[in-house]
Symmetry: C2
Subunit: 62 residues, 2 copies
């Protein structure tokens, strides 16, 4: 399975906000993250970058 | 390996622009895609959505 961990970038820090993320969908000025367990989380911000081989998605709050 | 295929969304259509994408990094008002073979492609636009279990990254031109 190729789910990823989602991190919020805040300056030099990276905060893990969700593991096993499957889909990231635009919603209301941000993104809705859904993981393989069906859990959802909303992040007001943008997708900053991806490192897929490392299973990492980076978001940045707006 | 968990690389993905990158698609540009254009209305109802999706155009495959790169396979085996590893990293997607912000650059100059767009994103630089790099695949596992070291090939690079620049897209002026945003990351629209992700479907990681399906190995798909969707971008939208700005």
């Amino acid at each position: 399975m190729c789910e990823a961990s989602a991190y919020i970038i805040d300056g030099d820090k990276q905060e893990l906000i969700m593991e096993a993320v499957d889909s990231v969908e635009p919603e209301d000025g941000g993104y809705k993250l859904i993981n393989i367990f069906g859990e959802q989380k909303f992040v007001k911000g943008t997708i900053h970058s991806l490192s897929l081989v490392d299973h990492r998605v980076y978001l940045k709050k707006s």
